[in-house]
Symmetry: C2
Subunit: 455 residues, 2 copies
């Protein structure tokens, strides 16, 4: 690529700023321009619940890289409050709107990275436009929730029993609110195994959270001050002066779709392992893009900050001539709800079945540390494998001590396509402060081994 290369990056959060930094580092003479629609760059949105928990912390603490540092020490040509409204792959230009000035201009590029992220789903329900009803996705959402809490909200309704709902149930309870979780499905945490779900539900209820499942939310109603006062449901009203919609996100693909780029079956931008889109000279990375799933052996869409950072870094290297490959994801994720660590990797039983595997599963409970060592507590492990081949498909862990980090054993084993027998043979760290002589993961593997490959 010639000197003076113009690289344009659409979006300045995790993937976009990773790409920009990597491109500049590898090719200091390139012009790297980032257009970010919002007022912030490079923030850790996954940290928002924990930031909200602490009234003393500013939401700005979540900003990893300031605009000044991006510009000065990294040499990135950064434009906040600038929205790219169109991409023309033919002429290699973008149309950019300066949201402050209200003006629009056209910018050329030699290489383009789309890192437009995802947006929280907002339910199109009556009253869901009332003050006090929000989502939690961008830093501005987090700032709003903190302001509402500072005003003294008393009762929260969380619509959606996924992991953001779980984290926020914990956070809002610890901020002193009464919290109701409303999930329309028969149970919370759709896609997780029933044994894990039961532990999470118990932890929520033990901490006073009112968990209502099989309940459809129909709208929201205002109080005398014009702010939200209740959520209405098919099972009656729920008092709430703070309503959080946590019903998932969708990839921001409008720009890419209008430019004629291939959108994958998942609804996110199709990319190959080099983060290239279907259009020459255009890469995509982060929550707007698909990722190759190593267990499914096809692209999937599981938006997470860690994937966004990895993909962004690779896209940034590749736009300046590298040929790095993104290895893919295996579906590792985790959250903490009150004192319970919960994490997974790979496929759950139901998903494995739906994908055409012949899954078998076990659930065991084993202590986190050696018998008698202080600080230990039970860890529940569920493992799923393909019965005919014995290949590990996934697993879930829940416990108060060392449950989440153990999911990394599964994540690593899944990347290597290990069988249950391979898992049994792993040499894991053993010392009384860290694990019993049979680590919970090995205990589960020993049990699951009895169920696989017996034909």
């Amino acid at each position: 690529m010639a000197q003076g290369t113009r690289i344009v990056i659409v979006g300045g959060v995790a993937a976009g700023m990773s790409a920009a930094s990597q491109a500049r580092r590898r090719k200091p003479d390139a012009t790297v321009t980032v257009f970010e629609r919002g007022p912030y760059i490079s923030y850790g949105s996954c940290g928002m619940p924990y930031n909200i928990e602490d009234p003393e912390r500013s939401i700005d603490d979540l900003v990893v890289l300031t605009p000044e540092k991006a510009r000065e020490s990294r040499g990135i040509d950064l434009h906040l409050r600038h929205e790219v409204t169109a991409i023309d792959p033919g002429s290699r230009t973008v149309t950019v709107r300066d949201l402050e000035a209200g003006s629009e201009r056209t910018e050329g590029w030699d290489a383009l990275v789309i890192a437009t992220g995802a947006s929280a789903v907002r339910l199109p329900l009556p009253g869901f436009d009332l003050p006090g009803v929000t989502v939690l996705r961008e830093l501005t959402d987090g700032a709003l929730v903190k302001r509402l809490l500072a005003e003294g909200r008393k009762a929260a309704a969380i619509v959606g029993g996924g992991y953001i709902g779980m984290e926020m149930a914990h956070v809002l309870t610890s901020r002193g609110l009464r919290v109701t979780v409303l999930e329309k499905l028969p149970d919370i945490l759709p896609g997780w195994g029933p044994e894990t779900v039961a532990l999470v539900r118990k932890e929520l209820e033990r901490n006073g959270v009112d968990v209502r499942t099989g309940v459809s939310v129909t709208g929201a109603e205002a109080g005398p001050d014009g702010s939200v006062a209740a959520v209405t449901t098919d099972a009656g009203p729920v008092e709430a002066d703070l309503v959080l919609q946590a019903v998932g996100a969708r990839p921001n693909v409008r720009l890419a779709a209008e430019a004629g780029l291939r959108i994958g079956d998942t609804g996110a931008i199709w990319v190959n392992q080099y983060q290239q889109t279907s259009a020459d000279g255009i890469w995509a990375a982060g929550d707007c893009a698909e990722a190759y799933h190593r267990v499914l052996r096809r692209n999937a869409w599981i938006p997470l900050g860690t994937t966004a950072n990895k993909q962004g870094r690779i896209a940034g290297a590749n736009v300046v001539g590298a040929a790095q490959r993104f290895a893919g994801i295996v579906g590792t994720s985790g959250f903490k709800v009150f004192d319970l660590e919960v994490a997974r990797s790979g496929l759950g039983f139901d998903q494995a079945k739906a994908e055409g595997f012949e899954p078998v599963a076990v659930t065991i409970t084993q202590r986190s540390r050696a018998h008698g060592y202080p600080g230990g507590s039970p860890i529940q492990v569920t493992l799923v494998a393909d019965e005919p081949t014995g290949v590990l498909l996934g697993g879930e862990l829940a416990g108060r001590d060392g449950a989440a980090l153990r999911a990394n054993v599964l994540g690593t084993a899944l990347a290597a396509h290990m069988t249950v027998s391979d898992l049994q043979g792993l040499d894991l760290v053993y010392a009384p402060p860290f694990a019993p002589v049979w680590d919970p993961v090995l205990v589960a593997a020993n049990q699951l081994a009895k169920k696989v490959g017996r034909r």
Copy 2:
């Protein structure tokens, strides 16, 4: 194998009792006889330091399975204080001495498992037979140390700066003793990387332990009461009314060697992956036996409880007709010294070099949890890889939060013979309570990637 099979197991600690239990479970009509020289079976010797730390706990708490339970619920024909003094592979008999009665008898077997463990090295120095000088290997050693502490010992000298020395420095300090660690080599923790060693040394010194390296112990001297009062060294005397020799262990192979079984280059009993020794009908497992090392691709001797349990279970299955394979070890181990978790897997830089690899290494420090999340602290990660191939060879971690469990990522990656590039691509759990967006292991892998495969 015919009904009425007689299985004899020599040794009733981790490997021996695992083998006995597994054999009985798989073949309930077999006669499974265990001869254990000592007064205890099935104890977790790795838990001894932590048990000693707590004066309220009985050393018997470390017994996992009581003789009564072994006999009654597991149906094992168990003989404590019975020492096997000879094995005759030709006639398939053992000679057994009843240490209480002083009598000797001969017992026949169809299958034999040798699980004789290892013994602590005792230094042949003048005065090292004094009361108050001990090792820490068997439960009776732990009981002795607890009794000495209950008597009110004031100053301990620990001879040897390996991991048992580290654990006991912590334990004896917390029991109120002044502790001096004496290591004859230039630094503690031989075989570990200098960056890890520096952190451990700092942690010891921060907690008041006097660490003296490059010092040769020459003997011990008694006080007026006839018990030890000082250790003598080439750098002067060290006051100590409790002296712990922690200078390693040796496999108990005399029986096997006298029976003509092959002893490996490591000095331990040679076994294949089925735990078979060189003699037909005889298996070996645990600290007396070698284990296949998956990074070295040859047998090694790294005695650890977790390996003993795995090998014992496999030997117990195979003596009753199964054909299970022990996958091997990768050299994973860990310990805690004061508040510092320390763990490793695979080879260190120097060992890798000595083994003919062309190692490169990096050491990085990264926080254990996301920026701003409470409870996080730095983790230091050292990774070693083979430069021409990029294959991961090993790594070490040290930190106060989540360092040890992260060694399992390395243990799993080493089992799969992953490269540094494979490690960079791992999908590890990310959520602010558990990890930053780039886990410390990934940060290290990203740095090491710049040093490998550049030819």
